[in-house]
Symmetry: none
Subunit: 249 residues, 2 copies
DNA sequence: AAATTTCATGCAAAATGGCGCAAAATGTGT
DNA sequence: ACACATTTTGCGCCATTTTGCATGAAATTT
């Protein structure tokens, strides 16, 4: 990957998210942070972005905020997806479900990852289109407006004909005895189908979802193999899940 | 392998990937890197690409030149979709295909329009999610990265089970005798399926697509019922299409 | 205040670019 | 068919660019 291409990518990231972090860029682009820093310096001199501690932001956006962390308020989700990244290897078949945490996962995937990804959410699909080595398959069907994801019969039908190595589940509620729950019936059914077609099920859940119960049951707790939260694995509130036989990351 | 042939190949690679590396070209073309360098130098002097360290990039891709003629094209697209709007009524079943013009159409749809819309493009689906009265159905399948739309067997299968009142076709090339053509085979097949399942087919085409021919045939010209361009309906360059029995808007 | 993270600088290794030259290929006129 | 000019190509040599690492300073967090 040459310099110009990298810088082009940085500009695009900036257009999309108004902010970039040096570390994340270096992970995505597989170069050292020094190189990223040099890129940012050059682009800053050309006036194409504004450097800030830890990264850069779109120069037009900068007047409103002056710290990256204001923009990165969702840092617990970033923590989660960083950990989840370790579960992904080249040539996997991956299902990525809806939810903002899963969207963060898609954004942080290395640019050169080779994989086949099935997703029912529009934004995840859009982000993955930027990855040249990933085969993206959109699970089609009636769209749920709020969450911008496809749900219902069409998705379930499609899923029934396939199999994935790993499934990253968005989580509205996860409870040690009740299991996984959702607040929409069709969404619950869709998730259940995803679980059924995956060798491994990973639940990405910010801590506020732990112990929460939603109206519609997705599946029992033993279907979840791995739980990833922003807490350290030995955190006390994860005790019950560990006892339920779930691997904690 | 002749020089011209090589340089042609480089241009094509550039069109496909927007970037090329000298080493890879020298391997693919079985010549020394020096030769490639000389080719790139010549092409750069002719303005057909932009040389960068380690290879070259598509010159249009990098700078604002691109965005400038986007702005120019944008105004004609807005003209087109304004006219196309008159074709839409409440409670219709609508297919919206890919392309930037169709995206403009989606953006301009009245917020209170009641309709069922099928689309295979991610951005159109996202825009339509903001419309509370529109049932949006995403046509799923393997995604074509550049155009961010679902193409291929899955889409065709899904279409075969439905029927729409009207279909807004993105247009890469439309020619009075050759018909509608596309630059991707699967995209062509997908469009053909859309046409087959719609009572009325509308081609939204900025003038530069008129008379253009792409490698893959979608369907014959008599499948198009209505043609919408930025020109006034009596414009001379639309004469041939009117004679072909197409209604001009 | 201490610990961690990020930044700047210098440096060396690796990759890439540029130039001249000679061999090979191609074109041209007789 | 032959000699000669022109173009194209590959190689060697060296300059330049790029990159990663080490070190210490600066900024930020705990």
């Amino acid at each position: 990957m040459q310099k110009e291409e990298r810088q082009q990518f940085i500009i695009e990231e900036l257009r999309a998210y108004n902010k970039v972090k040096s570390i994340e860029l270096s992970e995505k682009l597989k170069v050292s942070e020094d190189t990223i820093r040099r890129d940012l310096k050059e682009l800053a001199e050309k006036g194409q972005l504004k450097k800030v501690h830890g990264g850069a932001m779109s120069s037009s956006f900068s007047s409103f905020h002056n710290s990256l962390d204001n923009i990165y308020a969702h840092s617990s989700k970033v923590k989660i997806v960083r950990k989840a990244l370790s579960l992904i290897e080249d040539n996997m078949v991956i299902i990525i479900d809806g939810g903002t945490t899963n969207l963060e996962l898609a954004k942080i995937l290395p640019l050169d990852l080779k994989a086949t990804v099935f997703t029912n959410t529009l934004q995840v699909a859009l982000v993955l289109c930027e990855h040249p080595e990933i085969d993206v398959c959109m699970l089609g069907g009636k769209l749920h407006k709020g969450s911008k994801l496809a749900i219902g019969l069409d998705v379930v039908n499609y899923l029934s004909e396939m199999h994935a190595d790993i499934c990253f589940m968005g989580t509205s509620g996860i409870h040690t005895t009740i299991g996984i729950t959702e607040n929409d019936r069709e969404e619950a059914i869709t998730k259940r189908a995803m679980i059924a077609r995956s060798s491994r099920v990973v639940s990405l859940a910010i801590s506020e979802k732990l112990g929460k119960i939603q109206p519609f049951k997705v599946d029992s707790i033993d279907k979840v193999h791995i739980l990833v939260t922003e807490f350290a694995p030995n955190h006390h509130s994860l005790e019950a899940f560990r006892n339920a036989g779930i691997k904690i990351l």
